[in-house]
Symmetry: D5
Subunit: 144 residues, 10 copies
């Protein structure tokens, strides 16, 4: 079970940065789509909650990084969003300039468009700025 591989990984960050073949993660984030699959029990009372503690974007005014934990909770209708797809979608905000209120609403718009849920709530819990802690919570209810 235990064996030493002599060729060490290349830890020189400059060299690695120009080696495009291994940057599959960045390509996956760039090409991310909100893939869905059919709800295995349509009609059943049902809640899916996903907590994503690694949201980051940039402040549209200063360009400083912002950080948040995003909470997604929904009652599926016919389709469910793939867990990895949500993660890649959230990763795709890293270089965008967007405010707390705007991004929380945009995530709700995009996820509702992807899976047309009966209900969906997005709560953006942002890291403090000036020791002030802000939470934005937005909700969609499918028109009946």
């Amino acid at each position: 079970m235990s064996q030493t591989i002599q060729t060490a990984p290349n830890l020189d960050s400059t060299a690695t940065a120009t080696d495009d073949r291994v940057k599959y993660g960045e390509r996956e984030i760039e090409n991310a789509q909100l893939i869905t699959f059919p709800n295995p029990r349509p009609g059943r009372i049902y809640t899916i909650s996903v907590v994503l503690p690694e949201f980051t974007c940039k402040c549209p005014f200063s360009g400083y990084p912002d950080f948040a934990t995003m909470h997604v909770s929904y009652v599926p209708n016919d389709r469910i969003i793939e867990l990895k797809a949500i993660k890649l979608y959230i990763n795709s905000y890293r270089d965008q300039y967007i405010s707390h209120e705007e991004v929380t609403n945009k995530i709700l718009d995009d996820l509702v468009a992807a899976c047309d849920p009966l209900e969906m709530t997005i709560k953006g819990d942002f890291q403090p700025r000036g020791n002030v802690h802000m939470v934005v919570e937005v909700k969609h209810v499918k028109a009946s």
Copy 2:
């Protein structure tokens, strides 16, 4: 960004279980080796701690599953163990029959053999049995 893929993933577990092409995770665990790479700062005072909350094996007497959080902490010498390699190695105990004391000692033996650290401690914090909670902690110090 948002697009629906019509072909849903196959959720029939029987069919999936016989589809060997997608079981890359099991193959990775089976082939796991304790890959190491050179310590980037040999000589510096240095501690690496890894917490693995998903250890499971089987009781050698009853065959019932056992669960633990494994804590690995070491002072590297010349080589460092790859994080993913430790994870796959820990996953490889899933179908083994082994006692709490034996497995904690064996993990220490294997990781010491892989990277020859200056010091290493393994703490196995096992889920209660009969509401009795057991922790086994073993330590290796490199002979000077």
Copy 3:
């Protein structure tokens, strides 16, 4: 009270693995049935909650192990499920390939079929993957 037994238990895991006589736990899990007994107070307002922190199965795509805490809560009608039976039933998923959404729904289907409760909720709280934490909660209400 205190006495030393000289013949030590066999800790060689290979040997033990082929000794079928002591693997009663695996046999119990394999033969598990959702045994029920009569509700001692039918008609009374009544909730039974069971938390099972040791659920594990395998990812249907990769074969990697998944872990969860399963929360079962129900209002019994005429019958109550034996506590040990629920535990063995949960243990029986260890080698199955099944997704988070599918397994949470299947547990609800099976337990409802076993005891026909007035209401039942299953909450599957899955260990993070890619540092993303997912919870699936499904509910059954007996048609009146």
Copy 4:
């Protein structure tokens, strides 16, 4: 997997209490011995910690029940005490009249006699009486 067993367990506590065939647990506690097995790695630095939250005995003055969590921690020498044996041994105090200080010392005496450890500590953390919380911690070090 799901099946209803029609013959319900007998919940009449009086009847059950006289049915000696099923009281195997009481027999196991009565016959408990502090079974040990050989240390799989004699010579290695090594700590085994066991937490037993269900200790109960009776106050030698009033006969009222007392409750405690017992913490056993030791550095094994040649032998290790079986986990289930410790649990049954602790259960055997249920009907004994013994004070906080006496019982903590007696557990240390008995476990030291059973496995002759290099070091052993017993900490008895007793439930409050008169809202006063008492902890007794005793330690044995093997004479070198």
Copy 5:
């Protein structure tokens, strides 16, 4: 204030066990009655909650001890149960063989009979068995 009494308490548990004169606590538990007194403010909106963390009985199948925290909460009508009486009543289960569901219901029956409350809830929060945690909650509402 400070004075040393030379005659030490008898800590020999065998001797003490046969000394019936000092076992007043056991006698109090044996003779316990659910004593009530008049509600000092009948008609006022009113909740009394009592938490008893030291419930123990025996499993009707194995005879092994079971442990629970019992939560009693009620809206009194004309009478209130004495706090010490509830404690002694709970202590009286120590040597009884009774299941989790049965004992939670029986405590509700007995306390309702004692004080005829407007509403009463009993929640039995049992110590894990096989690392499975069970809670039973039963409720009585006075017929209007």
Copy 6:
């Protein structure tokens, strides 16, 4: 088991206050002595810790009540202080006018005089005044 006693306890606090026969608790506190008994294992390494969360006295300047949790911890020599005696002793400060520093030292003086321990520490953790939280910790070590 359940029975209603018609004669309710006297809840008129004025009347009760003049009924000296039932005030045994006040008499016990007034007559409290720091009773000790022999250490059951003299020579063993040994710590007894007692937490008393209900200390109260009066401020020597204003007469306002002060509150604290008192932590007593000691290594016994030949004698151990009875748990109930410590509690009554602590209760005896209720009507005394004494400062935080003085009372912590006085408790240490009195308990050392009572049992002549190898070591003893008293920590007085006082409730905040002006939202300022004060802790006084004093220690005695027996001269060898």
Copy 7:
């Protein structure tokens, strides 16, 4: 800013106890009145919550001290109770003999009489006795 005052405060508690001039705190408690002032925003939806962790009185049966945290919460009508007045009022129970149920109700009666609120709740959370924890919660709603 920093200066040493040579005349130390008198820490002899006996002497201090007879020095009536400095006992202004006791006088303030003795003379306490439930002073109120006008609600600055009558008509607005409004809740004032006060937590008083230093309630103490004496048990009417034994004379032993009792301790509680008192939670006062109300929706004011025309008048608001001064914060210091509530504190002195709560202090005034120190030498009274009164049961848990009686004192919680009496505090509600007195505070309602003082400020005639739209709603008021008093929750008395009493320190455990015999390791049993009791909470009494009483509520007043102004008749409309």
Copy 8:
């Protein structure tokens, strides 16, 4: 990246206090206005919560400083208040003499006037005085 700047900042607090050019923070607080911007999703169900742990003002009776955490939560209508504007507004109370009840109501009045929300709640959670903890919560609902 790393470089030492030889001219150290002036740490003499007296000198700094008279250097008006660098006191931009005080000027910002003095000139603070409750700036708003348009709600990016008018009509959507929507909650914005802001926690400000650094509120301080002065007691109108004694002049002693008071401290609180202010919780602002609202459902926006057409306009949203800028996060930095709320922070500067809260900072502007530092030298004001104002009571707990008055300031909580005034913050609600000012923020409602600034953004005309559908609903707004202000909760002032004040640091204890005399170990008494006070919370004032006021609510505005837009007349429909």
Copy 9:
């Protein structure tokens, strides 16, 4: 006990601010001296810890308010600092412009000068700025 005082406190903050007679708190802070009294047990091992969660000053660069919890801990020599004196001294920084490092050192200098302790530690735990949390801990040991 309960009585309504008709003359309400003046809640108009402007008027109150000019009423110098009631601002005794500000005068006390202005005139604060670090008053000490003799250690009641010189020679005993002894620690006094004081936590002051309400420190505030102003940033010397921006003038923005800073907040911290100050932890004072010392081993007294001949003199002890009065608790209220420490509180007033800490309050006196409210309008000073001083950096985190400077103020923590200055508090240590001043308190050492006041009571000449055997040892003293000041830990300033500052509220985050830019979500960065800073703690400064400085220590004095009396030269022997």
Copy 10:
């Protein structure tokens, strides 16, 4: 105090992204230098601790984002690093490809070069990957 500014901030993220004038934060991070100032009390025992919960970089193998909380703790010698400078320096890793072990060592190298401390420790506490939690702690001690 309250006024509505009619011109709303530009929330169109595309437009904002091309408006270079307002991106001062990105310029500050790009130009960040580890500015130091003289230690105000050279020779005193002294620890400065800084916690930075918003570290992010990219994995050198996959390009996926990594997140960590960085803990910096040091005993200053002649110079202290400005708090804002540390924050900007940490922000500068956002687009770098670097491993956990490498970045923790590099931060130590850079900060030691900037201020030549007596001692410095960097602890990188990385967000879990594959539910495995890694902490790297490295230490520098100035050669004497």
